[in-house]
Symmetry: C2
Subunit: 163 residues, 2 copies
Amino acid sequence: MLRISKMTDYAVVLATHLAATSGPHAARDLALQTQIPEPTASKVLKKLARAGVVISQRGAKGGYALARRPEQIGINEVIEAIEGPIAVTECSDETTDSFCEYETNCGVRANWQRINLAVHRALSEISLADMAFPGTAELVSIALSGKDAERMRGAGTPNNDVH
Amino acid sequence: MLRISKMTDYAVVLATHLAATSGPHAARDLALQTQIPEPTASKVLKKLARAGVVISQRGAKGGYALARRPEQIGINEVIEAIEGPIAVTECSDETTDSFCEYETNCGVRANWQRINLAVHRALSEISLADMAFPGTAELVSIALSGKDAERMRGAGTPNNDVH
DNA sequence: ATATATCGGACCGTTTCAGTCCCATATTTG
DNA sequence: CAAATATGGGACTGAAACGGTCCGATATAT
C-alpha cells in the first residue's frame, strides 16, 4: 500500500533541499543540484507552490523558496501537495453510497478512517527541518536563517546520525 | 500517497467477513455475501492464502478460513498480502545505488524509513477482530473461536499457529 | 524592450490496475 | 474408480494512472 510515487519522492528531495539551503532558487538550479530532470522538477515545484508549501517569484531573478520556516512545514504537506488529499477506499467517496447494506463493510470503512488518521499524524510530526538536518533540527535551522546557508550546505551537517 | 487500491479494500472486506462469521467458506459464497465479483474475490483470496492470512481447503466442501484467531491478525498482514512489502522510494532498492552522492538525498531516504515504520506500526495495531466487531473485539471473537473453524484448521491440533 | 523564469495545460509512451478466463490439481462423494 | 466440487497458478485484456517532456502565456527585473 504505502507506495511512494517518484513524483512525491522528488517533492521531498526538493523541499528538503530548499530547507537546507534557504533563499530563492530557480527551478533549473534546484534540478541540477538534486539530479532531477529539469522539466520534472519544474512540474513538482509548481505543485508545491500551488499547495502553499513554497512561494514562487516570477520573472528574472525569480525562483522558489519555502513558504515558512523548515520546522513549521510537515512532510504531510509536501506529500499531499503531489498526491492530493489522502484517499482511502472509494467507499469514502460520498457520491456513490451504493452497497453499504452490509454492516461489516461499513465497519471496515470506519476503520480505514482511523488508519488514515494515524498515518497523517505520523507524517505531520516530521518537519522539513528534521529531513534536512536529522538529529540537530532546531540548532541548525536557526543558524542558517541568515545568509550563510551555502557554507552550511558545503560543510554538511556536523552530526547526522541516521537511525 | 496513501492510495488504497480496490483489491486491498476487497481483501480487508473479505478478511473481515471471515472474521465475523467463522468457519470455512467457499470463494463463491464470500463473493456473494460481500458483493464482490466472484473471480475477483477468488483472486484476492488466493493471495491471502499464499500470504498466510487465511488457509484454504481444496476440493469438494473446501473453502477458506482465517489462519489464526481474528485478534491475532493485523491489518498490515492483509494489506501486505495484496500489495506486497511496503515499498518506499526506489532509492531503497539496493540494485541501483546510482546518484546518492548528495547527502541530502540519503538523509531523505533515512527518513522515509522512519515514516514507513510508523505506518507499519499503526496498521499492525489494528486487528481483524477490531474491524469485525469494533468496540467489543475480545468478547465476540472469543465466543466464536470454537465450532467448525477448528475442523478446517486441523482437527487434531488444538493450538496451531500454522500458516 | 528584452531577457528571464514561473504558470498552466497538452501530449505521449509505459506501466500498473481491475477484472476475467482457463486449465491443472486436490478432495469429497457415490 | 469416477464424477463433482473448489482452490492454485497464470495468461490475457481494456482502462486508467504514472513519469516525463514540451510549448505558449504571463509576470518581473534590468
